[in-house]
């Protein structure tokens, strides 16, 4: 899209990068039917994880990101596709149904935004007092917890290079 102005840059982020060990956490993980506390390590014990941080559910970047990952069938490569946002479990259930992402592993609910803080991808929202959320970002985690691929938005908004994400998932 050609715009006659510059898209807003996000400040540099001191975020988790390729080769780092992914910070562990436990949060309610929401699927199409229920939610329960799940540790990242619980998931990694089963298969690699594609950890996708998004703005709050309902924001258009979140909608676009989930639509694209769904349309590419990103879970069909043997990776667990897992979201994180500040939205509640109730909102996540609606998002899973509306976006048709029941086959993805689930969406973590992190209203305090601590997980985004730990990954260095927190974004304090202009015009919404007291609200921080993740900036769009994607981390591919090997079963031993090593970050194999990392992408973090540097503009607001910015979207993942989906082909690069897909290549990383296929290459794992």
């Amino acid at each position: 899209m050609d715009l006659d102005f510059e898209v807003v840059d996000l400040p540099p982020a001191d975020h988790v990068e390729d080769g780092d060990e992914a910070p562990g956490f436990t949060r309610p993980l929401v699927n199409a039917e229920f939610w329960e506390d799940v540790a990242l390590s619980d998931l990694l014990a089963d298969a690699p994880v594609l950890l996708v941080f998004t703005p709050m559910d309902g924001a258009f970047p979140s909608t676009y990101i989930w639509n694209e990952l769904r349309d590419r069938g990103m879970d069909e490569y043997g990776v667990q596709v897992v979201g994180v946002s500040i939205s509640t479990p109730y909102e996540h259930m609606t998002t899973i149904e509306e976006r048709g992402i029941e086959s993805f592993t689930g969406l973590f609910s992190d209203p305090q935004n601590d997980v985004a803080e730990a990954y260095g991808v927190s974004h304090s929202l202009d015009g919404m007092a007291g609200v921080s959320e993740p900036r769009p970002s994607v981390f591919l985690l090997a079963p031993d917890g090593t970050v194999e691929y990392a992408w973090v938005a540097d503009e607001w908004p910015a979207f993942p290079d989906y082909d690069a994400v897909e290549d990383a998932v296929i290459g794992l």
């Binding site: 436990t26 039917e33 229920f34 540790a39 619980d42």
Partner: protein, 96 residues
């Protein structure tokens, strides 16, 4: 319908009881308190307020009502808070 139909608990959980519950449901809070009283380690699984959306519970106990529990030590899966409280007392109450 049976306990075997349930999704396994996450590996980090040492619990042997899964409690299907609805946030702020007084019958569910009663069972959570009973489990704490009896010092039973339990894992919570929250379902939706909309009754028709609770198929995860129906697969396990045959009804969509909460609370419901699965006890892996005994293989029991049951619903209805009065029944659950009686069962927990009888099984783990130490006879007093």
């Amino acid at each position: 319908m049976s306990a075997r139909e349930a999704t396994p608990r996450p590996r980090h959980s040492d619990a042997h009881v899964t409690l299907y519950r609805l946030q702020a449901c007084p019958f569910c809070e009663r069972i959570a308190r009973k489990l704490e009283e009896l010092d039973i380690d339990y894992h919570s699984r929250f379902v939706e307020p909309m009754h028709g959306d609770r198929n995860a519970v129906k697969r396990v106990v045959g009804a969509r009502t909460v609370p419901a529990i699965i006890d892996d030590e005994t293989g029991v899966a049951m619903a209805e808070s009065g029944n659950i409280a009686d069962y927990l007392d009888a099984t783990y109450g130490g006879g007093d």
